[in-house]
Subunit: 416 residues, 2 copies
């Protein structure tokens, strides 16, 4: 086995960057702090991390913590690589290598994992997205447009019947995709099985009436066996998607679910902020999302343009583009996942999202942007589809809105 895997870091150090990189390399492979019996030179040669690249960078890393003895600091991009021989084709053990104790090394004032380069031999062990872009389009029967989605709100508190009633109105309004909120899983006031039965009964009657299909992502986040059981419940009841909180079930549990799954897996990224918001430390989306993509997510949340959160647009666009770039560093399957734009999305972000992605292979999820339309849900959905059609056809939004009251009202109702 001659494959390698690699990681790129932004670091800031008060030492010679070569020394900092050497500490990172040692901590992530063979080293301890003294020479010890049994350590052969060949072990370091065969199993030691390799410093592939150290390049100075200009931009400071916000949030860096200066070393007490710092006089001057250097900022660099460092690339390390390891033989796959060290871990085997195992994502959790690769994580222990490139995102393990290496994050604790003393010689850096800041350390950010910005990307990982993984070999496609992992595709022998992991299954990747089962549905991805094409499978999601097949199920929803949507071509040449984004999948227009929404989230059941309020996040918590609705009963199964209240949920189904809202879902019925959303379907009648023309929505393509609906998801549970990530805060809604299997609470006593809205038990999972009852919600599935109520929602799918409503959607089945809708499809019988109209021929249209709506994708519904049920949040099955929970214990390992619970998730498999809930997946099977959704499948048996005629559903077409399940959702998980990626960080809180973890890579191993997602890969386990994927091996069992017959439905698309909608990956919610809540909690990614715990390891990504501080720019000087933690992990970039580019690195983070590859693990869950290889483990088997079909859709992954990327936040949205002009979102209600702290994240700037350029970061959102970088994440979304990463979702459709090849997942492996060498050849092998591309395994694109569908980026999910969400968080205060309205008619106003369609054009910029289309410009940034140059594609409609995405899910565009509006909560308040649809449910809060002054003329109701159907007008909400209509206005979003109109905004996207204007973007795709290259017609200015206000011009397109002139003969389209749903869009016109939305432009007035939501802040640009």
């Amino acid at each position: 086995m001659s494959h390698r895997f690699a990681a790129r870091y932004l670091i800031e150090t008060s030492l010679d960057p070569q020394d900092a990189a050497a500490e990172m390399a040692g901590e992530s492979s063979t080293a301890t702090f003294v020479a010890i019996p049994g350590e052969r030179a060949s072990i370091a040669e065969m199993h030691g991390a390799r410093i592939d690249e150290i390049v100075d960078v200009e931009a400071p890393l916000a949030g860096s913590i200066a070393h007490p003895s710092a006089s001057s600091v250097r900022r660099c991009e460092v690339k390390l690589s390891w033989p796959l021989e060290n871990t085997g084709a195992s994502l959790p053990n690769m994580l222990a290598t490139f995102a393990g104790n290496i994050f604790d090394v003393q010689s850096v004032n800041a350390l950010r994992l910005i990307d990982v380069e993984l070999p496609s031999v992992l595709a022998d062990t992991y299954r990747g997205p089962q549905f991805g872009v094409q499978g999601t389009r097949r199920i929803t029967q949507i071509e040449d447009m984004p999948i227009i989605g929404t989230i059941v709100k309020p996040s918590v508190g609705l009963t199964p019947d209240e949920t189904a009633s809202l879902v019925g109105r959303l379907a009648d309004g023309g929505i393509d995709f609906i998801k549970d909120d990530e805060l809604m899983a299997d609470p006593p006031h809205c038990p999972f099985d009852q919600r599935v039965d109520a929602v799918l009964d409503t959607l089945r009657r809708y499809t019988e009436r109209t021929g249209r299909k709506v994708m519904y992502a049920f949040n099955i986040t929970g214990e390992v066996d619970q998730m498999l059981r809930r997946h099977d419940k959704v499948l048996a009841a005629g559903g077409n998607c399940v959702m998980v909180s990626l960080n809180w079930i973890g890579v191993s549990a997602l890969a386990h679910l994927r091996r069992h799954a017959q439905l698309p897996i909608h990956g919610h990224r809540n909690g990614f902020g715990t390891m990504s918001r501080a720019p000087g430390f933690g992990v970039d989306f580019r690195a983070w999302h590859k693990l869950f993509r290889i483990a088997g997510a079909d859709h992954i949340h990327v936040n949205g343009l002009d979102n209600k959160f702290y994240e700037p647009n350029e970061s959102v666009v970088r994440s979304a583009r990463a979702c459709v770039a090849p997942v492996f560093a060498d050849c092998g399957p591309t395994w694109p996942v569908m980026p999910v734009f969400s968080s205060k999305q309205t008619v106003w972000q369609a054009l910029d999202t289309y410009r940034a992605m140059k594609s409609t292979d995405l899910i565009y999820a509006c909560g308040g942007g649809i449910l809060g339309h002054p003329d109701g849900i159907a007008s909400g959905v209509e206005s979003i589809k109109e905004a996207w059609t204007a973007a795709i056809e290259g017609v200015p939004l206000e011009e397109y809105a002139r003969a389209r009251p749903a869009l016109a009202r939305a432009l007035g109702a939501f802040a640009a």
Copy 2:
């Protein structure tokens, strides 16, 4: 069900802290950005997060990112709580609540989850540590002393036979506990099953010869089914401990393993730095470790005093004390886990560790501090036990070393 769960955050904000806390409360419970149909006042009352406390704090949060329009900032400790009714007794879904999108809210410049307060009704769903302190002492037959441990080094590269040979010398040297390095799991050059057979064969012969038992934590980190199978392999081969990388298998997979396990689970925290090192964001050990403790870890790594990493001693001590404090906010089982001190530990940290913990209920793991002893492994182990005995008996280290050559040599060989 009238139970609640709570979380404490340190925040820094350029707004009125009440407004920032309100945004956090909304994002983690019922709110979206506009009022929507179906939202009843009673839903917010029954399911909304409650702001229990906002207290100004003096200390600045290093690494805070000032809001562009910041003129003055306020630093506060904020306590929020939610009805368990929102999530049910489900750790992954509680995580989505207190460590989910709340970490992305715009109104804070810094946000750190410092503690969680969880209800003991979780003990009906989760099993907690199966062995903990008492079970580990029973297996190792060690009373009134810390469990003296070491890590197989080099971290990667040894074959099963080389590993077993080193383990034999460590056992002969008097060690109580040995663990795989977290970088060693099931790689091609040291296949798991072969390592288990080689190591346990050596340890069985050692026990037959001496009557002494050594605990060996095999790193079973991997896919869900792999971990169960490897656990069973260790059990069938007569082993007495398994180890996992907590962050990279995740809470759900750990709880799944725990339900199956008949052996103690040694919890390695590598990667905790991705979400803890930047002080302005992320998660404190106190909050983080409770999740894995409730899910079923028996031992949890806490770093060590004067460690080779960036973490200051006061933080290490706080973590270690947390491991033996009650895990639930109300009554119910205490579920202490054994704190594992590790990272450049030598004879020099025994006294301060004992003073900080006022207990010997801990694992004290030395890699180089034992393997690097100038007179070999047996002297390495002996010196560590002597340093601990001196600490417990209140005899100054140098005085105790006078008639004890192993300790004397260690004091000279390792930096104080």
